[in-house]
């Protein structure tokens, strides 16, 4: 413990003197920060083993990989799998389905999280606030399998409670679970139900750090509740919103395999097929590992471009980006 403090003290001193770039100083830096570096070891190991090492295997996207022949032994085929994917007649449909679901999640689920956080923040009775908060977190801990089974029971044609109720209300017999028109609404509904509460945590943390004096000053100036939310609360958490938005955009093509796979069936497949389920069908069920890897890589590259793109736009609008 004593050494750790000592090392930190030493590191504090290091910033004062300008350091010429040479080997000796690199060694000195290593010696000086040895404990901090040591603390980083598990993290570095994790990334090296589970993030960087597997990238070696990503080369199978350019090969015709057969497990028995090994990565090096499999034939090199260049861009064949990428070409096959982009020229595939299914490609426009997969892209469309993926983007629509991503857009729905970005424009409906994401703002709802902020609204929910603001509502919770406005609750003045502490015990009520805490109870509600805990209750809305609960669905996050249910697995998609459970959520989808629940949906199946509630909307079961003929005897599901929600089906019966909606059926009486609308007067038409709709098979919610199989009708392609109802697939996306159900997906968004499940997503909102499961994740909105959990998503409020970061916003609530940001809201807690808003300077209370600003509110007091605003009240004295005669600002109403809406005005306070609009002019104080929202601007204060703007940077949090932007950071989360950028991160969310990077995830845009990850539509959540489990949920969609479990919700899809023969009748709604035309709107339910997305990149993730496609990779599963082709890669795992059909054993075309190379092709599936190529699809996965293409998806990851789009994700990276989107993150940089949103970050750049955020900076253009004079907001803080994430890097």
């Amino acid at each position: 413990m004593a050494t750790l403090i000592e090392a930190e003290a030493a590191s504090g001193g290091a910033d004062i003197t300008p350091r010429p770039q040479n080997r000796r100083n690199v060694r000195e830096t290593i010696v000086r920060y040895r404990w901090l570096l040591f603390l980083m070891l598990p993290g570095i190991t994790y990334f090296a083993l589970f993030r960087f090492w597997p990238m070696y295997g990503a080369q199978i996207a350019w090969r015709d990989y057969i497990p028995f022949l090994g990565i090096q032994g499999s034939e090199w085929v260049g861009w064949k799998h990428f070409e096959d994917f982009f020229t595939n007649p299914d490609f426009p449909r997969l892209l469309g389905n993926t983007l629509i679901l991503a857009a729905l999640s970005l424009f409906i689920a994401f703002p709802l999280t902020i609204v929910m956080a603001l509502l919770l923040n406005e609750l003045r009775l502490n015990i009520l606030k805490r109870t509600v908060q805990t209750l809305v977190y609960v669905p996050h801990f249910l697995s998609w399998t459970v959520v989808v089974s629940l949906t199946g029971l509630l909307f079961a044609i003929g005897n599901g409670p929600l089906w019966t109720w909606l059926n009486d209300l609308m007067g038409t017999e709709i098979n919610f679970l199989a009708d392609p028109a109802w697939f996306r609404p159900l997906i968004v509904l499940q997503d909102v139900w499961k994740n909105t509460g959990w998503g409020t945590i970061i916003f609530l943390a940001a809201l807690a750090s808003v300077d209370q004096e600003q509110y007091e000053a605003a009240i004295i100036d005669g600002a109403g509740r809406w005005q306070r939310v609009w002019h104080i609360t929202l601007p204060s958490i703007r940077s949090t919103i932007i950071v989360l938005l950028i991160l969310q955009t990077g995830q845009i093509l990850n539509t959540g395999f489990e949920q969609i796979y479990l919700m899809s069936n023969a009748l709604n497949r035309s709107v339910a097929d997305v990149f993730d389920t496609y990779v599963y069908f082709v890669g795992i069920q059909q054993g075309s590992y190379s092709y599936a890897t190529a699809v996965g890589l293409a998806k990851a590259i789009v994700g990276v471009i989107l993150i940089f793109g949103t970050n750049w736009i955020a900076k253009r609008f004079n907001q803080t980006g994430i890097f």
């Binding site: 050494t3 010696v31 040895r34 404990w35 040591f38 070891l41 190991t45 083993l49 090492w53 057969i66 497990p67 028995f68 022949l69 090994g70 007649p89 299914d90 199946g152 079961a156 044609i157 003929g158 098979n175 679970l177 199989a178 069936n265 023969a266 009748l267 497949r269 069908f281 082709v282 795992i284 069920q285 059909q286 054993g287 075309s288 092709y291």
Partner: protein, 519 residues
């Protein structure tokens, strides 16, 4: 001095951790030729490692009584790598990509297997099995052995299963209430479905029943679904059909389309459960038990299962609910749906069994493991320990249930029974169960005569290997969409045209070429 000491400790830790990591990374690659059983180069095997799936709650331990008895019987030290069945497919790929490959693996004819076999990863056994040197491995059903092959090359000793399993299961009490006979033709079956829906078979005065119970089928075409059965009964063939020496996909025939109309009428008239497109197959029994639906097309073994469930619900009348009927006659003839007749096979990787002498030794072990004595060990267990024999039936000792579960849930997976099943059957609990078991055997024998086999079962087309799942799903989705009324006949035709243009034409060409080569 003190600073120096302080410096060394973390460095030492760093070095040790680093070394450990390097060791962990390379340990997979340094095993040399990777002999799973620890048998060196070209010498005779002293031990034999087998990779197999298990269904039991807990896999058997190394050197459990069955392992010891089998090792003694075969003369080699057997060791089995048990893998949970749910992870099995994935694990085989990992194992094949690694260096520590077992001597014998339970494999299915997946695209990955075919690729590996064609790349020389497994021993071809055709000549060995046909030589007669291994009498217990000579198949009693040559068609089934042919179906396990990849374009005529047999790469494994298949694990035999009943060739006929499909049947119709009906609510016997409903038939009796309505005074209906058991349906013998598909038209009669349709009439029963209508009566079960419209004529109030449970006599409660309410319109709360339907005929067919169909779950959302997890597989696509040719996967033993009720739809596949109805189409085959109508004469559409089994996935592929031979027409004038040419193979054609069964879904391009008029009989297939006709069967689809039959299925659509069942759904559109309400003779089928309304959630047929989304129902979880795991809940298939429930509507039958609850008296909502009355017809199931599935494997025969579901019938005793249902009887057992009725026993829990209504012990007094349990034997009056379930009627088991054989496969019906269709308008174009009598056709019966067979299974593939096998479930995976024991294949021998070349990288662990290197020489022909070793291969012959492994085959000898597999031959011994299919002797009557070994079959009893694998399927029943240890006589006098977990079971005793009465009237040629096995009677299990309830105190040793855990052990029996391991035998039936794990060891039985190593049984091939290609030359016939010679172990003991479980003694039926009641005379009714015995009758039911006998009925199943009679129906199997009757339907076997009319079985329609898939003429392309042994053929592996390259295009089908790489895009078969997608192609098949196109058709099975179109089928459900047609039944649901989402698309009409022209819509189905559009999908079939897409099937042709997205690789189907190549599949047809490749299969026909292979078909004519193999004669």
């Amino acid at each position: 001095m003190t600073t120096r000491k302080r410096l060394r400790a973390p460095l030492a830790i760093l070095t040790v951790t680093g070394l450990a990591l390097t060791a962990a990374c390379t340990s997979g690659g340094d095993d040399g030729d990777g002999d799973g059983g620890g048998d060196g180069g070209g010498d005779a095997l002293s031990s034999l490692s087998i990779m197999a799936p298990y269904f039991a709650a807990v896999p058997p331990e190394e050197d459990d009584p069955i392992d010891l008895a089998l090792s003694e019987l075969t003369g080699v030290d057997l060791s089995v790598q048990w893998v949970p069945n749910t992870d099995y497919g994935e694990r085989t790929n990992v194992v094949l990509a690694g260096d520590d490959i077992p001597d014998v693996m339970v494999m299915g004819k997946t695209p990955a297997f075919v690729q590996t076999a064609e790349a020389g990863g497994f021993w071809e056994l055709t000549d060995y099995l046909n030589s007669g040197d291994y009498p217990n491995l000579v198949s009693e059903n040559p068609e089934v052995q042919e179906a396990t092959s990849v374009n005529g090359h047999v790469y494994g000793v298949y694990r035999s299963r009943d060739v006929i399993r499909h049947c119709i299961i009906l609510r016997a009490d409903w038939l009796a209430n309505l005074g209906l006979e058991q349906p013998q033709t598909t038209d009669e079956l349709f009439e029963v479905a209508r009566a079960f829906t419209e004529d109030d078979p449970d006599g409660n005065g309410q319109d709360d029943t339907y005929g067919f119970i169909n779950p959302a089928w997890p597989g696509s075409i040719g996967s033993g679904s009720p739809y596949d059965a109805l189409e085959l009964w109508n004469g559409a063939g089994n996935v592929w059909l031979e027409d004038g020496g040419e193979l054609v996909p069964s879904f391009t025939t008029d009989e297939w389309m006709e069967a689809l109309e039959y299925e659509r009428d069942l759904v559109q008239n309400g003779y089928t459960n309304p959630d047929y497109a989304t129902m979880d197959p795991a809940t298939w029994n429930e509507p039958f038990l609850n008296g909502q639906g009355g017809i199931i097309i599935d494997v025969q073994s579901r019938a005793p299962q249902l009887v057992e469930l009725f026993r829990e619900q209504d012990p007094a009348n349990a034997e009056s609910y379930v009627a088991l009927v054989g496969q019906p006659e269709g308008p174009h003839g009598t056709f019966a749906m067979p299974t593939a007749g096998y479930s995976n096979f024991l294949a021998i990787p070349r990288s662990s069994v290197e020489t022909e002498e070793q291969l012959e030794q492994v085959l000898q072990v597999l031959n011994d493991m299919n002797s009557t004595e070994a079959q009893i060990l694998l399927n029943n267990g240890i006589e006098g320990d977990n079971f005793t024999v009465e009237d040629d039936y096995a009677v299990y000792n309830e105190d040793r249930q855990d052990f029996t579960d391991q035998v039936s849930g794990a060891w039985a997976q190593l049984g091939t029974n290609v030359a016939g099943y010679n172990a003991y059957s479980t003694q039926p609990a009641t005379p009714y169960d015995e009758e039911l078991a006998q009925l199943r055997l009679d129906l199997q024998a009757e339907d076997l005569e009319n079985a329609v086999f898939n003429p392309a079962a042994a053929l592996a087309s390259e295009t089908y290997q790489s895009s078969g799942t997608q192609l098949d799903t196109l058709i099975s989705d179109a089928r459900i969409q047609f039944i649901a009324g989402q698309i009409d006949e022209a819509g189905v035709q559009d999908v079939i045209d897409r099937w042709h243009s997205q690789g189907g034409d190549q599949v047809i060409a490749e299969l026909n070429e292979l078909y004519s080569e193999l004669g």
